[in-house]
């Protein structure tokens, strides 16, 4: 089953076409990296697939449901690049994580909130920061707070938009370890990245965007979960126009459905 499916997606914002004819199929359990330079449309793509930005034409489905009122919001976790813009009032880590329990028509956290929040904070090792103000934390701690907010509802799909922006290498490694554990537990992961770095061993597939179009698709683990000796090593973003259509040179078993 597809966790995320985008078909013939076009997105226009303020009259400018940001995404052109994008097709993407992320199957359950996969780890997919969306790569590309700044302004290539990576973040727009994931934000469109999560319903934050409306599609101009085309179709987006999450777990087989069109994005909208029927979307299983409880199954989706989203980690934006940064803590939200609205932070005029001090907000504790616990409050941010608790807000992740609200989704769809669930407007109250419920009785089990305390235990769920504690478990999510423990999963990313921030339980000791629960009562700290988020804006006083380091970049890595803020990032883990946002991940805990996404994890608190136990999502089947976790989407992370440039999760390592502004973080140092030890933070990359810690985050990669956390994501590995989540994926081994069955969580589908979609990562928006500039480079694979510490996440390379996790990735099943990559798609590369340029100018709002997918120009390149690569499979590292064609069998889904296990690395293969026939995996294609191709972990860089082409600095130049790709000389050929990947469909021409990928082995048939590595060609991916859009």
């Amino acid at each position: 089953m597809s966790a995320l499916l985008a078909r013939d997606v076009f997105v226009r914002l303020s009259g400018v076409e940001i995404l052109h004819d994008v097709d993407l199929n992320v199957k359950e359990g996969q780890v997919v990296a969306i790569l590309g330079a700044n302004g290539s449309g990576k973040s727009t793509l994931v934000r469109t697939m999560l319903g934050i930005i409306p599609v101009s034409s085309g179709q987006v489905e999450v777990f087989g449901q069109p994005v909208g009122s029927g979307t299983p919001w409880a199954d989706i976790g989203y980690v934006p690049q940064r803590i939200g813009a609205g932070s005029g009032v001090p907000v504790s880590v616990r409050e941010v994580v608790t807000s992740g329990l609200l989704h769809g028509k669930t407007l109250r956290a419920g009785r089990a909130a305390k235990a769920a929040v504690a478990a999510a904070m423990e999963a990313v090792h921030i339980e000791e920061l629960a009562n700290r103000t988020v804006t006083e934390l380091s970049g890595g701690q803020q990032q883990r707070t946002l991940i805990a907010r996404a994890l608190v509802r136990k999502p089947r799909l976790l989407v992370l938009d440039e999760p390592i922006a502004g973080l140092d290498v030890p933070s990359h490694l810690a985050l990669a370890e956390t994501l590995k554990e989540l994926n081994e537990a069955g969580t589908t992961l979609v990562l928006v990245l500039h480079e694979l770095g510490a996440f390379r061993p996790l990735i099943d597939r990559t798609v590369v965007l340029r100018g709002g179009t997918i120009i390149h698709r690569t499979a590292f683990k064609p069998n889904g979960r296990e690395p293969s000796e026939t995996s294609l090593e191709h972990d860089h973003v082409h600095p130049h126009e790709d000389p050929s259509d990947p469909a021409d040179w990928l082995a048939p078993e590595l060609r991916l459905e859009p």
């Binding site: 934000r47 999560l50 319903g51 934050i52 979307t71 919001w73 989706i76 989203y78 934006p80 940064r82 803590i83 939200g84 813009a85 609205g86 932070s87 005029g88 009032v89 001090p90 907000v91 504790s92 616990r94 409050e95 941010v96 608790t98 807000s99 992740g100 609200l102 989704h103 769809g104 028509k105 407007l107 109250r108 956290a109 090792h125 921030i126 000791e128 920061l129 009562n131 700290r132 103000t133 804006t135 006083e136 934390l137 380091s138 970049g139 890595g140 701690q141 803020q142 883990r144 907010r149 989407v159 502004g166 973080l167 140092d168 030890p170 933070s171 810690a174």
Partner: protein, 305 residues
């Protein structure tokens, strides 16, 4: 001390005091959400629009021959403020650049419309002064009952939907990605803000209405480390300040609204100064205690102190 008890027992002070306490305690609930989303001046904007509503209520009262003529002023203010607040929210949703200009038009149009309509209704600008600067001393039992009802509604919505309104105010993009009814929650907040403004308008007037919503929150956030605690402290502080400010006018011949606002600002200044001194004396607290998994993380954001 005996004079204080005499003042508190004065029937003329009772209704205004209850009104001031209720508004002082409930206005910061909404103010906390507005400060959170960096829209502290929204109350001012709504207040300007409410003035047109006051004048419209006056006009309708004059046309229908109602006595007193301003009997529909408060309902008019509520209707105009709600419409204005929802319009402001829809403009904000559509984009900030053009929205900024549109909001300015709405603010200035609101106050100019109020002056024009009151003159058409046969009144004078003096009739608007009590709404510009407040008139809590003239609150009667009927006004008090309306205030109690609206304050209860603000409490129910502001506290009952606190989690959802916090989620939308703190990170609207995440709220959208969670499928929360962002637009409806924003409109709910706009409507409840409009009701707060029209109720608070009676105490401090249109020109200072935002102060009751915002200043206690600004003070509370100097003392608290969480959203919930900020709101709780602001509510307590708002009620106490409104009460003290009003009681002070029993002896001082000054406007209650101005007394309340000035007192709130003095308290903010004192606490801010004391906090700055304490921070200077205290050893600098590290913002980056290295956790086991990720030592030596860089600080990428630090709250301005």
């Amino acid at each position: 001390m005996s004079e204080l008890w005499t003042a508190l027992g004065d029937p003329l002070l009772r209704a205004p005091l209850i009104t001031a306490l209720l508004i002082g305690a409930t206005a910061p609930i909404i103010g906390t959400f507005l400060v959170q989303r960096r829209m502290s001046l929204l109350g001012d904007g709504i207040g300007h629009v409410a003035l047109t509503g006051v004048a419209l209520g006056w006009l309708v009262g004059a046309v229908l021959g109602l006595v007193p003529r301003d009997v529909l002023a408060l309902p008019g203010a509520v209707v105009a403020a709600v419409i204005g607040a929802v319009a402001i929210e829809l403009v904000r949703e559509r984009g900030r650049t053009s929205g900024d200009v549109a909001l300015a038009m709405l603010f200035y149009g609101g106050i100019a419309g109020g002056v024009l309509i009151i003159e058409i209704a046969g009144g004078t600008n003096d009739n608007l002064v009590r709404y510009l600067f407040g008139s809590v001393a003239t609150v009667d039992t009927a006004n008090l009952l309306i205030t109690v009802g609206l304050a209860a509604l603000i409490l129910v919505v502001g506290l009952g939907f606190r989690g959802a309104l916090f989620a939308v105010s703190h990170d609207e993009e995440f709220a959208r990605a969670s499928g929360l009814p962002v637009r409806w929650l924003n409109i709910l907040l706009a409507i409840i803000s409009a009701l707060t403004v029209t109720v608070a308008m009676r105490v401090v007037g249109v020109l200072m209405v935002s102060a009751m919503m915002i200043v206690p929150v600004a003070t509370a956030q100097l003392l608290a480390a969480s959203f919930r605690r900020t709101m709780t402290i602001a509510m307590a502080m708002g009620g106490v300040i409104a009460g003290i400010g009003l009681i002070a006018t029993y002896w001082l011949d000054v406007s209650p609204g101005a007394a309340i606002v000035v007192l709130a600002i003095i308290i903010y200044a004192v606490i801010a100064a004391a906090r700055a001194v304490m921070q200077r004396r205290a050893p600098r607290r590290s913002t980056t205690p290295p956790p086991p998994a990720t030592p030596q993380e860089p600080v990428i954001a630090k709250e301005a102190t």
